[in-house]
Amino acid sequence: MQLIACPWCGPREEVEFSYGGQAHVPYPDDPGALSDEEWAHYVFFRANPKGRFAERWKHSAGCRRWFNAIRDTATYRFERVYRLDDPKPVIP
């Protein structure tokens, strides 16, 4: 089983974590001004790359904190983890 390094707890088994989808999806500045289509894009539309992807993860069975990770969707390998207040790393 793969270990995922929680930014707070360190390496823990994958089953302790839950997935939270794409990271860095900004909440609209002025939600009321969005058209239905724009709103749908914000709520439902996500990138689906093959390769490195910035994602939200949660250490559900441990400290219950959300954090971000760069994971390779083709290999499932976690390349790095970072806290929510850290800037998005440059993905090569």
């Binding site: 707890c9 360190g10 823990r12 069975a61 400290c63």
Partner: protein, 194 residues
């Protein structure tokens, strides 16, 4: 009207638990008061008002009066007390942290405590817990929120020899975990002749 009796979720397990040898001793601890604290940072005022320095190192616990202060997250702790009633503990902690923008909630009914002592308890825990519990890395003062068997638990290292662990488990899962521990301890239990 029917009288409501206070019962412990592991009342029915006492005989089977008592039969275990000293190498894998399981003790069901009495209820203690527990309060969940949320506080953005730990200013000196909080330490002074609470009478304890809340631990800021992840996965650690410190003694706090008659109880403990357990790190639960960068802004969350569990405070326990063996001498105060839940409402007393909650009121005292709330008075200390609310002026600092924090909160305190009585969670005494959420978890019960087990104490696992003996030379083989690490072997028992290792059957259902992926955390390295060797005293070299999990000495007294260490804690971990993780799973044991399939149950979410809080593990507390109570000795530097790796032979004394506290386990906090949700009341509704206590029976399951007690059954799991008894099964895991089976190989260290001698069968009486005849």
């Amino acid at each position: 009207m029917a009288e409501l009796l206070r019962t412990h979720p592991l009342e029915g397990w006492s005989t089977r638990v008592e039969r275990l040898p000293d190498t894998v001793r399981i003790t069901v601890e009495p209820y203690v008061a527990m309060v969940d604290v949320r506080l953005g940072a730990v200013p000196a005022e909080a330490s002074a008002a609470l009478g304890v320095d809340l631990p800021t190192t992840p996965n650690t616990w410190v003694p706090a009066g008659t109880g403990r202060a357990v790190w639960f997250g960068p802004d969350e702790w569990l405070l326990t007390s063996t001498t105060e009633a839940p409402e007393e503990l909650e009121a005292r902690v709330r008075a200390a942290v609310v002026p600092l923008g924090g909160s305190a909630t009585d969670v005494s009914a959420q978890r019960i405590g087990l104490r696992l002592t003996g030379a083989r308890v690490r072997d028992v825990l290792a059957k259902g817990c992926s955390i390295d519990l060797h005293p070299r890395v999990f000495g007294r003062g260490s804690s971990a929120q993780t799973t044991l068997g399939q149950a979410g638990v809080v593990l507390l290292a109570l000795s530097d020899a790796g032979d004394d662990h506290g386990v906090l488990v949700r009341s509704s899962l206590a029976g399951y975990l007690a059954d799991w521990l008894l099964d895991a301890a089976l190989e260290f239990t001698t069968t009486p002749a005849s």
